[in-house]
């Protein structure tokens, strides 16, 4: 079958075997030992996005089980299916069924495991223990601290570090050459810098820049990145700081309802923007406190827009001071 002409490059260039992984050298060498021994413990892969956690899990399964590894492999995304029900049904069913082939065990990958609720993690803990003969778990997460200790203690922990700019640049250069992207060295460097060690982001940026007209340089990369990931939160905050609460709330509303950004993402952006702003230091602390309060209230069932609006109104009053 002919390969599709248009695919996402993150998938096209995703390594298939541990040997193809260029980075995370230490992690990979430890994983290769599992392959040699044909055995592995439960694992916890911790590290920022785009550093190869899922890829490593896929490659490990491939190297252990061969081409037909998908029969012995299941990938669940804990963010989408993070409730306790999934742990009690889907996960348990997969884990408990004995393997049919000669492989001694199956692998279940739980992506974004740090987004699992506390009780789901508790439920998982017993499942991991009970079915350890038939199933090995790989939990992927950004922050291992969000995984409850009893689970951490049942896992071998692997830390994935953000890729260095040079590593990203090398990889991008290789793809650019294969795909015939006309991009300057400055352009590649800009992508590497913007993506901050997140290879998925870097590759997506490269693919998007390949659709620009003409040669891609540093300047066009920055403009592209600005279009793709505008600092929405910054705009909203700036309007509030100018005292234009109504317009600021309107933009917030558009982000939440029309653009479909998750409230938590928006709050997180607000959080980093506060400390980049030129507010008084004392006020930054006050606003961080209010933002924390809003975050907490949303977790308790408060309406995201209403809660963040209270924060924006406070910001508007701080920046202006009492009106004369």
């Amino acid at each position: 079958m002919a390969e599709a002409k248009h695919v996402m490059w993150t998938e096209k260039y995703r390594p298939r075997t541990l040997d193809e992984i260029r980075d995370q050298v230490e992690v990979v060498s430890r994983l290769k030992k599992f392959v040699e021994e044909k055995s592995m413990p439960h694992c916890l892969f911790a590290g920022p996005p785009g550093t190869g956690k899922t890829t490593a899990a896929l490659c490990l399964a491939h190297d252990l089980f061969g081409e037909r590894f998908m029969d012995l492999f299941m990938e669940l995304n804990a963010s989408d299916e993070r409730g306790i029900d999934v742990i009690r049904t889907t996960v348990k069913e997969f884990a408990r069924a004995a393997t049919i082939s000669e492989a001694p065990f199956k692998i279940l990958v739980l992506d974004e495991a740090d987004n699992m609720t506390g009780d789901a993690q508790q439920a998982l803990r017993r499942t991991m223990e009970r079915y350890t003969d038939t199933c090995r778990f790989i939990l992927c997460c950004n922050y291992s601290s969000k995984i409850i200790e009893p689970i951490q203690s049942r896992c071998a922990i692997f830390r994935f570090s953000p890729l260095k700019e040079e590593e990203v640049k090398d990889f991008l250069g290789w793809i650019a050459q294969k795909e015939g992207v006309k991009i300057t060295d400055g352009g590649l460097a800009a992508i590497a810098r913007i993506s901050e060690g997140d290879l998925r982001k870097a590759i997506n940026l490269l693919q998007a820049s390949s659709t620009l007209k003409g040669e891609v340089d540093e300047d066009s990369v920055y403009r592209l990145a600005g279009r793709i990931e505008p600092r929405y939160a910054k705009e909203v905050l700036e309007l509030a700081m100018k005292g234009n609460f109504s317009e600021s709330r309107k933009r917030l509303r558009a982000l939440l309802l029309e653009k479909g950004l998750s409230p938590l993402d928006v709050i997180r952006q607000f959080h980093s923007e506060i400390f980049l702003s030129e507010l008084q230091e004392r006020d930054k602390v006050l606003l961080a406190e209010m933002l924390g309060e809003a975050d907490f209230r949303i977790s308790q069932g408060g309406d995201p827009e209403v809660q963040m609006s209270a924060f924006l109104a406070k910001l508007a009053s701080l920046s202006l001071g009492p009106r004369g």
């Binding site: 996005p49 209403v306 009492p322």
Partner: protein, 422 residues
Amino acid sequence: MSPVEQWDEKYRPSRLSEIVGNKEAIGRLVEWVKRWGSDPKAKRGALIHGPPGVGKTVAVEALARDMGLDLIEVNASDDRSRGRLERIVGEAASGASIFGKGRIIFLDEIDGLSPTDAGAVDYIAELISRANCPVILAANDAWDPRIGKIREKCELIEFKRIGIREAVPFLKRIAEREGIRADPEALKILAERNKGDLRAMLKDLQVLSSRGKAFTKEDALRAARRDRTDTIFNVLKNIFSAKSCHSAKIAMSEADVDHEMLFEWIYENAPLWLSDASDLANGMEALAKADLLFNIAKREQNWGLISYAIDLMTAGVAMSRERSRAGWVPMKFPERIALMAKMRAERAMRQRVLGKIAERCHLSRAAAGTGVLPYLLEIARNDPGAFKGLAGWFGFDAEEVEFLKSLIGAPGAPGARRPKKG
């Protein structure tokens, strides 16, 4: 000073014979109650439905009085969760009457059952089947899909708008009783403009004629320009300009919308009324706390919390107003209500698209939304051919492709932004 008695209360009919209009519907209702229990093929419940102000509630009340029956009434102001309903009407439905009197259970405003009235629809449907006495229900919209289960078990009795020929003589009698010289043409205008809502006609007549003792065509035309939202505007004005907690809370009781909707109105319009930035910060904080309490009340079914939430959203907002300008303020309909409805369908589509991306790229839907979708849209913007190819690879159907294309040109989308000033 004691408050002026409202005419719609003062002249509320207490006997069926005093009710204006809907004679046929009332006759059917009486017949249904009389025959209740004797005909096994007849429906066990009666659902009376029709627009506001046409006499649904008073008809049931008068019927109970005329027929000498006890009336057990539950309306939207009561907490109507399953547990509460069981306590209020459950016993009445099963036991025999202490005084040997018959009784009627009346559930008013059932299309106003909120999602918080958990399990209420199922319970009411059950109740109708097993009650030892007639159960009458009233709703504005009998075809509200939420009450389908209830509707099946009920005889439907429609109350129609009150015709001008019936309304005008009635208004004339009231005007005479109140010593008002009313121009018959003016009363006709009043009746026409209120589209058969007798209660609204009375309210208008009282408000517009309260100063002088005459009621002219000009007066009636002033009423003509008002519409339903006028009431909410006045309620808002009274809340925002209240000088005491008491008057802010009283103002709320005059609203003909539920507290969730009123919250949206206050939340939308607060920035217009609280022109001072620190007043606004305080007001929005009060609203944020009210919002949290409403939501906790709903989740925990702890209805006692609602009263504090209402304090915060009325008195809390009113008392925030210290330095803001006085004077007339234009008000607007809660924009996000409209927007949310519009977006509901879109969100489902978005999740569909993200689900496909997530599967292809080993990501969560959330990560697909931030980590892939914006890039895909940028590619689509620059190179439609590549986008078409990728759409095939992701397995998007035509509808999904159209949706994605619509995102490219969406207002506020990246690339469509105005350049910054200075």
